[in-house]
């Protein structure tokens, strides 16, 4: 226990736990240097503070990078208004929307999910940049548990992705989706859950990536397949078996579907459109309840978080 007296001498007294009664030690050594400070002594407060720091940093970096906010908007806007308009004119030859929901209404939750996907991935994979430019080490060597850092990172990525997706949500009126408070709150909740899951996935991936160049690989082999198989762009029923199976294996599919169901619950549709675009995720003939989809997403998030924390807790 003897080391503790010396710590007091350096002007640092301990708040709790592992070390010894420090009151004696501090009073015995009048501090020579006015500036010395006390540091915290471990416990959950440290972890909360550590997570908050990481979360705040994420928000500051997001708000400073206006260009990124704008460019992240470009892709979903193109999909929704260019691809969406082009495809709806093709589809409307077969199906009359009758002034209600149309293909763009169908795509809207898809591009919102897409915004969440790309923003959250980018945020999580920025860990690789942090490693390259050194800041990761500043965090890893701090007296904060790795789990807290990962939690902060995921909270930050989720907040940023949800904020970015909120901007997309503002376009709702242009594609015939009403600005109903109930719908918006439901979507925000689902976006947050999806954003946490995707940030956790990205963080788990980032733990295995040593080089910035590898980000391209993640984009091409993880993010884009997740997106294309998610049902963001086309309905998931009536597909060839191989594609149907792949889409059911895509965790993002269980994030897009609840958002779409929320949207379709708030728009008027004719029966044909509802059957074609409003159909829900099925396993065989079973229509998954929204609760099951959300639970699957939460379980996926928990799994990815566990992997990420385990990976980052390893010491070489």
């Amino acid at each position: 226990m003897s080391g503790v007296g010396d710590i007091g001498g350096a002007g640092v007294s301990r708040a709790s736990s592992a070390a010894a009664p420090s009151a004696v030690a501090t009073s015995r050594h009048p501090r020579a240097v006015p500036a010395a400070v006390r540091v915290a002594g471990g416990g959950w407060q440290d972890d909360v503070r550590g997570a908050t720091v990481v979360w705040r940093r994420e928000l500051i970096r997001f708000s400073r990078n206006r260009l990124r906010i704008l460019t992240s908007l470009a892709q979903p806007v193109l999909f929704l208004f260019v691809l969406g308009t082009g495809l709806s004119s093709l589809i409307s030859r077969g199906v009359s929307s009758g002034g209600g929901a149309n293909f763009k209404t169908f795509m809207f939750p898809g591009v919102v999910a897409m915004t969440v996907l790309f923003t959250a991935t980018f945020s999580a994979v920025s860990i690789v940049w942090d490693r390259e430019f050194g800041f990761l080490r500043e965090m890893l060597v701090a007296p904060v548990r790795r789990g807290a850092l990962i939690a902060g990172k995921c909270a930050g990525g989720a907040t940023v992705a949800t904020l970015q997706a909120l901007i997309m949500l503002a376009f709702a009126g242009l594609v015939g989706v009403p600005y109903s408070p109930a719908l918006i709150f439901t979507l925000i909740g689902e976006m947050l859950l999806a954003a946490v899951a995707i940030t956790a996935l990205g963080t788990a991936l980032a733990s295995r990536i040593a080089q910035v160049e590898s980000f391209q690989v993640v984009l091409q082999f993880v993010v884009l397949p997740l997106f294309f198989l998610s049902g963001a762009l086309f309905p998931l029923h009536g597909l060839p078996t191989w594609l149907s199976v792949l889409t059911r294996l895509d965790p993002l599919a269980y994030m897009v579907d609840p958002m779409r169901r929320a949207v379709f619950a708030h728009v008027t549709t004719n029966p044909v459109v509802a059957r074609l675009f409003g159909a829900t995720m099925t396993w065989g003939s079973w229509h998954l309840p929204i609760g099951v989809e959300l639970a699957l997403t939460a379980a996926f998030a928990a799994l990815m978080l566990t992997i990420a924390v385990r990976e980052f807790s390893k010491t070489d």
Partner: protein, 336 residues
């Protein structure tokens, strides 16, 4: 493990038989040393000698393969968090967030280390003023020069009043003027904060600033002590000759003077006691044309030479390829 640590007067760092292996490469081979509280201790050696690996183990970023290391009384493996709370770090490569301001980087650090708010504000002001960056506190770090970043890192490493400050090559890549400034701050710190400092360097002149140094080569400590003791231990002056025929000169030195000469930095080099008395004899008896002679009192370079048989620059040339990336990044990559 804390029982080995003997109170306020006990060592700040205690290392016994510390070893680290990366696959087949044995980067650190059973080093042992103590650093007393308040001491400035330098690890001197060429790149690739194991300096950064040792520092990474001491600051809990790398797990020792074997051996014991205690920092501020706590074992680096068993009590990681306790060690981390008590140390400050300044790395070779920057670990600042470029997209935050200088002040934000420091505030985040204070938060991570749990420095209470009112004290943190005062402390940040103190450390920024010390390194002359208080006026630039709202500047984005990415607009800073290399020297400013290093100063900011030193300031940041001090915010939580660490008992031990680790400086891994604190002046590498900086111009001579900035290097002098950094050393000004380091010496200032020794006086003002009584912090124990552990630093690595491959600059001989910087090692002279330390209270004690250990010379490390190929993962082993080959000598340690105060710079004066080490230089005194060599006890001989270095005489370097440029001759018309170096091979003949070396042969003649062996034959007529019973001296073992080596080629170093392009010159025939011998160590003799009393260099001034030796030179006249040399001209009279060598029998090989001499174009120039220089005599030098022992430097740390000579200490390194005496213990390893080569200069630190020669050692760097041979190990440069071993250590292309920083230890830490190599370790990360090696794990995949």
């Amino acid at each position: 493990m804390t029982d080995l640590f003997a109170g306020p007067d006990g060592p700040s760092i205690k290392v016994i038989g510390l070893t680290r292996r990366f696959g087949d490469l044995q980067a650190v081979r059973g080093v042992s040393f103590d650093v007393a509280a308040g001491e400035t201790f330098g690890f001197l050696g060429p790149n690739g000698a194991g300096k950064s690996t040792t520092i990474s183990m001491l600051c809990t970023l790398l797990r020792p393969t074997s051996g014991i290391a205690q920092v501020a009384g706590f074992d680096v493996t068993a009590s990681q968090a306790e060690v981390r709370r008590r140390i400050g770090l300044v790395f070779q490569d920057t670990t600042l967030d470029d997209y935050l301001t200088a002040g934000e980087n420091l505030r985040f650090h204070a938060e991570l280390y749990g420095v209470p708010h009112p004290e943190a504000a005062q402390r940040i002001r103190d450390v920024l003023s010390m390194v002359g960056l208080w006026d630039r506190r709202d500047g984005l770090v990415r607009t800073f020069s290399g020297g400013m970043k290093r100063r900011l890192e030193i300031a940041r490493g001090l915010i939580h009043s660490p008992r031990v400050l680790f400086l891994d090559e604190p002046t590498v890549g900086l111009d001579p003027q900035t290097r002098a400034h950094i050393w000004g701050y380091i010496n200032d710190l020794r006086r003002r904060e009584q912090v124990t400092m552990f630093l690595t360097t491959h600059y001989m002149d910087e090692a002279e600033n330390c209270d004690r140094i250990a010379i490390i080569d190929e993962g082993e400590i080959v000598a340690s002590g105060t710079p004066e003791d080490l230089k005194g231990g060599v006890g001989q002056d270095r005489v370097q000759l440029h001759t018309d025929d170096d091979a003949a000169a070396i042969a003649a030195l062996a034959d007529r003077f019973k001296l073992t000469a080596t080629m170093s930095e392009g010159a025939v080099t011998v160590y003799v006691p009393g260099g001034e008395q030796f030179v006249p004899r040399l001209f009279a008896e060598l029998g090989v044309g001499i174009s120039s002679v220089s005599i030098a009192r022992p430097t740390l370079d000579d200490v390194f030479m005496a213990h390893t048989g080569r200069t630190i620059r020669d050692a760097e040339a041979s190990t440069a390829d071993r250590n292309a990336a920083s230890t830490w990044r190599r370790a990360r990559a090696g794990r995949r």
